[in-house]
C-alpha cells in the first residue's frame, strides 16, 4: 500500500494543542517587585532544573540495537501450529481496515477465528491509516507491543521495524502453511526484508497481505457516449481519446492533487507505460535497477505536463482535493479517473451503471498488462509477542481461500482471489477489477509504488510532481532529481553496508 493513499480530509485528525491563551502576561507586572538576589537565585534554580531534566533524558540512549531480532526463519516452528492447544490466549491486533467493506470482512473473520478456537480472544484495535502510522512506532518500541500489526511496506516502516528487530520473520510458517505457493512472488517479495535490514524486496518474509490493489482507469460510460468516443482498447487509443473528449467539451481526465500524493499514482502509470519493461522500473524501486535516469521517466513527466497544459486535466488541479476530484467524477465531470481500486466501492455506490473500470490499456489490444500496484498493508507478527504460533494461525485464517471469498462478498479485492471471485459477473466493474488483477499477476506486470524506492522519495516526488503539473519544473529536471535521490540513497545504503561488513563486502 502506498504512503498515505487513503488519507482523505475526512480521515484527518485534529492536531490542535490546547491553547494557553490566558492573558497572564500583563498581571505579572502588577506583582510586587522582587529583590534582585531572589530573582537571580530563581533564575539559577530554573536553569539547574532545565539542565537536570536534560541530563535525566541523557541517562539513556533511545532505541534498540536490533538484538531483539528473532532467530532466522521465525521461532523455529516445525509443525503447523494448533491454537486450540495454546491455552487461554488474548491476541492483540492493530489494524487500519476501518472502511466499510474492509471493516466488515475483518470483523467476520475475527468472529470465525474465535468460534473455531474458543480459548483465543482477539482484542482488535482499529485506527485510520495515518493514526496507525504515527502510533505504531511507539507501540512497537514498548515492552508489551500488540501481537499482530499491520505494517506499511517500504523503508520508513516495515524495513525500519525489521531492522530494529521488532518483527518476527515468518519463513518457517510460510513453509508450513504453503504461503510461498499461495502468493505470486512479486507480491510476496514486497513483504521481504534482507537479513541485514537494509534492503527490501528480498530476504526474510515479515508479513502477509490480505488484499490486492492497483491503479486502474475508471470511466463514465455516459460521458464517453455523449462525446462519441469508443472505449479505448490500447494505450494509444486511450491517449488519442483525450483530445477528442476535449473537443467535445468534456473534461478528459478528472484529477485533484492538493493532497500531493495522487500525482505519484498517475505518474507511476505513465512511467509504467513508457518503460521498456515492467522490470525496468520494478528493479529500480527494489534497489537493484538502473535508476531513474532514463527515457521512460522523462517521457512520463512530459506526458503529465502536457496533459495539464492541454487541459486534459482540470485547471488548478494542484488546488483540488483527491476526494473532491472523485466526487466530481462521480457527479459526471470527467470521462476518466486514474486511481486505485480502493475507490471502486464508493464510486459504484454513487454512479451505479454509468461506472466502468479497466486496467490501464495495454500497448497492443489484449496484450500483457502493466500498472502500478501492490497489496494492502502487511499483517506482521511482533517479535515480543508471546503467542507467535497463534498469531501465525491468525494470519493463515485471514488470508486463506475462505477469507478470500469473505472479502469478495464484501466487495474487497483479495490478494489471491478465490472461488467466489469467479462468480462475479465478468463485465461488471468488480469483475473487471478481479480479472485484471489476475492477469496482471500472470503477466508479471505489477510495478510497486514509486515511493518505496527511498525513505524520502514520497516527499520529494510528490512535491516535484506538483511543479511538473504547474509547469515550473521541467521533465528533464525531474528525471535528474529523481536519479540524484536514488543514487544518493543507494550510496548511503552501500556505505552503511560496507562499514557493517568491515569493508570486506563489495
Amino acid at each position: 500500500m502506498s504512503f498515505r493513499r487513503e488519507e482523505g480530509a475526512a480521515g484527518r485528525r485534529p492536531f490542535r494543542t490546547p491553547d494557553s491563551r490566558t492573558p497572564g502576561a500583563r498581571s505579572a507586572r502588577t506583582v510586587h517587585a522582587r529583590s534582585p538576589r531572589t530573582a537571580r537565585s530563581r533564575t539559577v534554580a530554573a536553569v539547574a532544573l532545565a539542565l537536570g531534566t536534560a541530563l535525566l533524558g541523557a541517562a539513556c540512549v533511545p532505541g534498540t540495537d536490533g538484538s531483539g531480532a528473532g532467530p532466522a526463519g521465525g521461532g523455529g516452528a516445525t509443525a503447523v501450529p494448533d491454537p486450540a492447544k495454546a491455552g487461554k490466549v488474548t491476541l492483540t491486533v492493530w489494524d487500519q481496515e476501518v472502511r466499510g467493506g474492509q471493516n466488515a470482512e475483518i470483523e467476520q473473520l475475527n468472529e470465525e477465528f474465535q468460534e473455531k478456537y474458543p480459548n483465543v480472544r482477539i482484542k482488535r484495535v482499529a485506527r485510520s491509516f495515518s493514526d496507525l502510522k504515527t502510533t505504531l512506532k511507539l507501540a512497537l518500541s514498548g515492552n508489551t507491543p500488540p501481537d499482530v500489526v499491520q505494517a506499511n511496506q517500504g523503508y520508513a516502516d516495515m524495513v525500519a521495524f525489521a531492522k530494529a528487530g521488532m518483527l518476527t520473520p515468518l519463513d518457517d510458517y510460510a513453509g508450513l502453511y504453503g504461503w510461498n505457493s499461495r502468493y505470486p512472488n512479486t507480491l510476496l517479495d514486497l513483504n521481504r526484508v534482507s537479513a541485514d535490514g537494509r534492503n527490501f524486496g528480498t530476504g526474510r518474509l515479515y508479513g502477509l497481505s490480505q488484499t490486492g490493489e492497483y491503479i486502474g482507469v475508471y470511466y463514465n460510460k455516459d460521458v464517453l457516449d455523449d462525446a462519441g468516443v469508443e472505449l479505448p482498447r490500447t494505450w494509444a487509443e486511450f491517449t488519442d481519446a483525450l483530445p477528442k473528449l476535449k473537443k467535445a467539451g468534456e473534461l478528459p481526465v478528472q484529477f485533484g492533487n492538493l493532497d500531493k500524493y495522487p500525482a505519484i499514482h498517475t505518474f507511476g502509470v505513465l512511467q509504467d507505460q513508457a518503460a521498456d519493461s515492467p522490470a525496468q522500473i520494478r528493479d529500480t524501486i527494489l534497489g537493484k535497477g538502473g535508476g531513474f535516469d532514463n527515457e521512460a521517466t522523462e517521457r512520463a513527466a512530459r506526458t503529465l505536463a502536457d496533459w495539464a497544459d492541454q487541459g486534459y486535466l482540470p485547471d488548478g488541479a494542484n488546488g483540488t482535493g483527491y476526494d473532491d476530484a472523485a466526487k466530481k467524477f462521480a457527479g459526471g465531470d470527467g470521462a476518466f479517473l486514474v486511481t486505485g481500486t480502493w475507490q471502486l466501492a464508493d464510486l459504484k455506490k454513487q454512479m451505479g451503471g454509468k461506472l466502468g473500470f479497466m486496467p490501464p490499456p495495454p500497448a497492443q489490444a489484449d496484450g500483457p498488462l502493466r500498472t502500478t500496484g501492490g497489496q494492502g498493508l502487511a499483517w506482521a507478527v511482533t517479535s515480543k509477542s508471546r503467542h507467535p504460533d497463534v498469531a501465525a494461525a491468525y494470519l493463515e485464517h485471514l488470508t486463506d481461500a475462505h477469507a478470500a471469498d469473505v472479502m469478495t462478498g464484501e466487495g474487497v479485492l483479495p490478494a489471491v482471489p478465490g472461488k467466489a471471485a469467479d462468480r462475479v459477473p465478468k463485465d461488471s466493474p468488480d469483475g473487471q477489477m478481479v480479472r485484471a488483477w489476475e492477469r496482471l499477476n500472470e503477466d508479471d506486470g505489477m510495478i510497486p509504488y514509486l515511493d518505496y524506492t527511498t525513505p524520502t522519495l514520497f516527499d520529494t516526488l510528490s512535491a516535484d510532481l506538483q511543479g511538473v503539473i504547474e509547469g515550473s519544473l521541467s521533465p528533464e529536471r525531474l528525471r535528474s532529481k529523481m536519479q540524484d535521490e536514488y543514487a544518493a540513497f543507494r550510496a548511503e545504503q552501500g556505505e552503511e553496508k560496507e562499514s557493517a561488513d568491515g569493508g570486506t563486502d563489495r
Binding site: R26, V61, A160
Partner: protein
C-alpha cells in the same frame, strides 16, 4: 496600576511603628518571598516539570542524536543544528513562518486597532452581534477552519465564484495550488482567525481608557487620527503586547491549518516548521533533525515574545 497606594503616603509614624514591629518578629525584609511559598507552588511545579520541562529536556537531548526512532541512536553533536542553518530545504520553512507572521500577527493587530478605534468612536447598533461574529473563528477548532477554507479556496470554490460573479474572473485561480499564492492564501485564513481575538482585546482595553482623555483631546482640537495616536494607541499598549504575543505564538506553531489545507504544497511552498517537525519525526524517521527543528522553533517563539514584552509592553525584567 501606576498610582501609588494611598496608605503608603498616609501617616508615616504609624508605618514606622509597624515596620519596627515586623522587624522584631521576622528578620526578612517585608514583601520578600518566604521559602514556604515554594511549597505552595510545588504541586503545579511537579506537573509542569513532568509534562513540560522533562519533554523539553528530552527534545533537546534528541536533537543532538542521529536517531530513526527505532534502532539505536548515535551521537550527532551539533550536526542537526548545522544542517538547519545550511540546508535551504530546512531553512525555507522558517522563512515561510516569518511571512505568515505578517498575516497572523501584524495584519490582525492593525485591523483590530482600526476596528476598535472606529467602534469606540461611533456607536454601532448590534455591537454584541458583530463582536460575537468576529470572535467566532477563535472558538472553532482549527481543523474545522481548515476544512471550510479548503473548500472556499478551491478552484471552483466560493472565492472564485464571487470573483467571477463580479466580473473579476481573471483573478480567479487555484489558490491553494498556486506556487505564488498558496502561502498568502493560508495566511489570510490566519488573519481571519486572529482578527476577532485582537478586536475583542482592544475593545475591552479601549473601554478602560478614561473618557476625559478623549474629551481633552477633542477640546485641544484633535481629529480622529490624532486622537487615535495620542489617546487610544498608548492606552492599548498592554493589550497590543498581549495580542502580539498570542498571535505570534499561534502563527509560529501553525500546524493544523497547513496539514489540512496544503500538506506543505504545492511543492514545498507552504511548509512551516511545526509541520516539518511532524513530517520528519513520523514520516521520514529523522527524529534528531525533527527535534532540532522543534528546539529552534521554541527558541524563536521565546525570543520573539521576549522582544514583544520589552519593546511593546515596556517590561524590562
Amino acid at each position: 496600576m501606576t498610582a501609588p497606594p494611598a496608605k503608603e503616603r498616609a501617616r508615616p509614624s504609624a508605618r514606622a511603628a509597624l515596620r519596627a514591629y515586623a522587624a522584631h518578629h521576622r528578620r526578612r525584609a517585608p514583601g520578600e518571598p518566604r521559602a514556604v511559598g515554594l511549597l505552595y507552588v510545588l504541586p503545579a511545579l511537579v506537573l509542569y516539570a513532568l509534562f513540560l520541562l522533562v519533554p523539553l529536556g528530552q527534545t533537546v537531548w534528541l536533537s543532538f542524536l542521529d536517531w530513526d526512532g527505532l534502532t539505536a541512536a548515535s551521537w550527532a553533536g551539533f550536526d542537526n543544528y548545522r544542517e538547519l542553518a545550511t540546508d535551504p530545504a530546512l531553512r525555507a520553512p522558517f522563512a515561510h513562518a516569518l511571512v505568515l507572521l505578517f498575516f497572523y500577527a501584524v495584519l490582525p493587530v492593525a485591523l483590530g486597532l482600526l476596528l476598535a478605534a472606529a467602534l469606540s468612536r461611533f456607536r454601532v447598533r448590534g455591537m454584541t452581534f458583530f463582536r460575537t461574529v468576529l470572535f467566532l473563528p477563535q472558538v472553532l477548532a482549527m481543523v474545522v477552519v481548515g476544512v471550510a477554507w479548503r473548500s472556499i479556496l478551491a478552484p471552483d470554490g466560493l472565492l472564485n465564484d464571487v470573483l467571477r460573479a463580479v466580473g473579476a474572473g481573471g483573478l480567479a485561480r487555484s489558490w491553494l495550488g498556486d506556487y505564488t499564492w498558496a502561502l498568502p492564501a493560508v495566511g489570510v485564513v490566519g488573519t481571519w482567525v486572529e482578527t476577532g481575538l485582537c478586536l475583542v482585546l482592544f475593545l475591552a482595553g479601549a473601554q478602560r481608557i478614561p473618557r476625559e482623555l478623549y474629551e481633552a483631546a477633542r477640546i485641544d482640537g484633535a481629529g480622529a487620527v490624532r486622537e487615535f495616536l495620542t489617546v487610544t494607541l498608548p492606552g492599548l499598549r498592554g493589550e497590543i503586547a498581549v495580542a502580539l504575543t498570542l498571535t505570534i505564538v499561534a502563527g509560529l506553531r501553525n500546524f493544523d491549518l497547513i496539514y489540512i489545507t496544503t500538506s506543505g504544497g504545492p511543492g514545498n511552498a507552504t511548509s512551516v516548521p511545526a509541520f516539518e517537525v511532524y513530517r520528519r519525526a513520523f514520516e521520514v524517521n529523522e527524529v534528531g533533525s525533527a527535534a532540532a527543528m522543534g528546539v529552534a522553533l521554541t527558541a524563536l517563539i521565546f525570543g520573539l515574545t521576549v522582544v514583544v514584552a520589552r519593546l511593546v509592553e515596556g517590561r524590562t525584567s
